[in-house]
């Protein structure tokens, strides 16, 4: 286990998350993909904390966790709103800018 391998793993998870964000059309599914991306960022933080030392990077992971939770809370609230308006969570319905 090296730093390089950890970062490669994080990159793979990030790429998969990006794939999900770009292809998924359900709002909740997009949120799940975003979670993957955030997770990969956390992996990078933790790896650096491990290989370069010091508690600071781990603190960042904790912050990032909290931020992610907040993001998901708001995201899900928006999903609820969307669902309540349209009876569906497909983000295509939220594209009111197109009209």
């Amino acid at each position: 286990m090296t730093l390089t391998s950890c970062i490669l793993l994080a990159s793979a998870v990030m790429a998969i998350g990006v794939y999900g964000v770009v292809t998924r059309r359900q709002a909740v599914a997009m949120l799940l993909s975003v979670e993957l991306m955030a997770n990969s960022a956390n992996i990078v933080f933790a790896s650096f904390a491990h290989f370069r030392g010091g508690p600071s990077a781990q603190v960042f992971v904790l912050f990032a966790l909290a931020l992610t939770v907040a993001e998901v809370a708001i995201g899900l609230a928006l999903v609820m709103l969307l669902y309540r308006r349209h009876g569906d969570t497909s983000l295509a319905l939220a594209s009111e800018a197109r009209r």
Binding site: V18, V21, V22, L91, A92, S95, R98
Partner: protein
């Protein structure tokens, strides 16, 4: 006092008066104090000039003092100062003497003006005298240019003195336009001279080609200022100004500035035979052409105006023949007798309250002194032997002998005949014959009016004999010789006078009057200028309009259209789908990473 100090006094005294009158408005508004102040300044200038003359007669050498005006890299780029030599001293004397006479005359002539206008008139006179003296004493072409423009400004203001009269305002603007158009030549000539020689001195000797350019451009300004064909059209109109102004600016001094410039820049002109050739022809054509038109004018002042054009043509022709001294000599005598003629005409006009020759007639009995003055001026102008004009005109004609296959010489001889003819016509019509309707109650003016006439009559009679002295002062050669030319000139002038008596004594008309009148009223040159002006201005305007309408507006419209179209196209990017936006974010991140990697 040193000559330099005296020259400075002569130049700056009127400036002080002008500035005082400009700043201290009560002086100006009350009229009389302005006249006194300006007269005092002019007397000071004249006194300084006479002191200079006395010093020179006592053997004082030429004086020149300059101070650096604009410095560049440690050496003066341009200088201002004074130069007192024979030419400038004589010119200074002429200008100050004529100015004093004219201003004295004006006190009586302008007496009926409201005080404010009266004060403004004298303030402008002070400004003019300062400007003219700047021209006269300037040691280089740059300072001369500034004085040149200042006299142009004074001329504009004085022509438009009765600015409430549309014709006067138009005449002022016309004079300004025409002379400014010509002054472009001066400016560009200066630039060419400076670029090629690095100085504004007329003694700097550029190559022959550059000299031709410089003198050619300078000559354009001369044509404008000295009212030569085809830029002469402003001078007859300038007669809208008060008559004393016409006497001072538009006969004696300012219009002669062009001739003065050429006399000054003679070293440059000597290097440019081509320019001189052109000058020779322009002067000759103007002399004949203007004399012909003077024959049919019904306005007394316009006769004199065309006569001025014609006489300036003589001077320019003499300069073109390379005889600067002849031109300068004629300038001097002409200044006196033309100022005399104008002031006498002013006296007549003041008496009959009209400019029209037809309103006059038989004034010989009512205005004996004015008649005498006018006749002396007329005979001098006609070149009758013994009068001042004879000597200088003879010199001009002699200087043209053999030039350009004698054609200019013949033209000027013919012009001499015409001069005597039209002056005879004016004298007969105004002072002899039946009294006109308005001539009944005419009477001589007061001493302020008659005094200057007497004073000016003396040099008009006698200044011709000063030719020899003048020549020594300007280190030119002069000798009165009795050859073919003086005899022919005398014959011509006497024949002209005789013909005038024969033709006009019986109330007849000059031959070709109809043709000349048509020529005058049709005023081809005026129309050509107006047409050219319209063509130029409207053409440029049309072009500018087209550019504005189609290029600039088009660009604007295109910008608007492009923004609209671009917006419409770019709107398709905004799908409103979060997925697409996320994709774009990814693209952006990829681009940033790539930039970071490849750098």
């Amino acid at each position: 006092m040193s000559p330099v100090t005296l020259a400075l006094v002569a130049t700056l005294a009127p400036a002080v008066a002008a500035v005082l009158l400009l700043v201290v408005s009560p002086l100006r508004h009350r009229g009389a104090p302005a006249a006194w102040l300006t007269l005092a300044a002019t007397v000071t200038s004249l006194g300084a000039a006479i002191a200079l003359l006395v010093a020179r007669l006592g053997g004082a050498p030429d004086a020149r003092a300059t101070t650096s005006w604009i410095e560049q890299a440690g050496r003066p780029l341009a200088e201002v100062g004074v130069l007192i030599d024979g030419v400038s001293l004589v010119m200074l004397l002429i200008v100050c003497l004529v100015a004093l006479c004219v201003q004295l005359f004006s006190v009586a002539y302008m007496h009926d003006e409201p005080p404010k206008a009266f004060g403004r008139y004298f303030a402008l006179h002070a400004l003019f005298l300062f400007s003219m003296n700047v021209v006269v004493v300037s040691p280089n072409l740059l300072q001369l240019f500034f004085g040149w423009e200042l006299v142009g400004l004074s001329s504009y203001l004085l022509i438009g003195f009765y600015f409430a009269r549309p014709s006067a305002a138009q005449a002022a603007v016309k004079a300004f336009w025409m002379t400014k158009l010509a002054d472009m030549g001066f400016l560009f000539g200066l630039l060419v001279l400076f670029v090629s020689t690095g100085s504004f001195e007329w003694t700097s000797a550029p190559s022959a080609a550059v000299a031709t350019w410089v003198t050619g451009l300078l000559f354009v300004a001369v044509v404008g200022k000295s009212a030569q064909f085809p830029l002469h059209v402003w001078l007859p109109d300038a007669m809208e100004g008060p008559t004393p102004v016409s006497a001072l600016l538009h006969a004696a001094t300012m219009v002669a500035a062009g001739v003065f410039l050429v006399v000054r820049a003679d070293p440059l002109f000597a290097l440019a035979p081509g320019t001189r050739e052109v000058m020779l022809w322009v002067g000759s054509v103007t002399a004949v052409f203007a004399a012909g038109l003077a024959l049919v004018q019904r306005d007394l002042k316009k006769v004199l105006a065309f006569s001025t054009c014609s006489q300036l043509g003589y001077m320019v022709a003499a300069l073109g023949a390379g005889q600067a001294f002849a031109g300068f000599f004629h300038l001097g005598t002409h200044a006196f007798f033309k100022a005399l003629l104008f002031l006498a005409a002013g006296s007549v006009i003041h008496a009959v309250h009209s400019n029209a020759i037809d309103d006059m007639g038989g004034l010989r009995k009512k205005l004996p002194l004015t008649t005498g003055a006018f006749v002396i001026g007329a005979l001098s102008l006609a070149g009758v032997p013994g009068f001042a004009g004879f000597f200088s005109k003879d010199l001009v004609l002699s200087s043209l002998e053999g030039k350009a296959s004698w054609v200019p010489w013949a033209m000027l001889l013919f012009a001499a005949f015409l001069t005597a003819f039209y002056m005879g016509r004016v004298v007969i019509k105004v002072f002899w014959g039946e009294p006109g309707a308005r001539a009944e109650h005419a009477h001589e003016g007061n001493l302020a009016m008659t005094g200057p006439l007497v004073v000016l009559a003396v040099p008009s009679l006698a200044s011709g004999v000063l030719g020899g002295w003048l020549a020594t002062q300007t280190s030119a050669e002069y000798h009165l010789h009795l050859g073919l030319t003086p005899v022919l000139a005398t014959v011509m002038s006497l024949a002209g006078l005789g013909a005038a008596v024969v033709v006009f004594g019986r109330g007849g008309k000059a031959p070709l009057t109809a043709v000349l009148e048509r020529l005058d009223t049709f005023s081809l040159v005026d129309r050509a200028w107006a047409g050219g002006y319209r063509l130029g201005l409207l053409g440029v305007s049309a072009l500018a309009g087209w550019v504005d309408r189609y290029l600039i507006d088009g660009l604007m419209n295109f910008a608007g259209w492009a923004a609209l179209e671009g917006g419409t196209s770019a709107r398709r990017l905004q799908t409103g789908l979060v997925r697409d936006y996320a994709l774009m974010v990814v693209v952006g991140v990829l681009a940033l990473v790539l930039i970071g990697v490849l750098r």
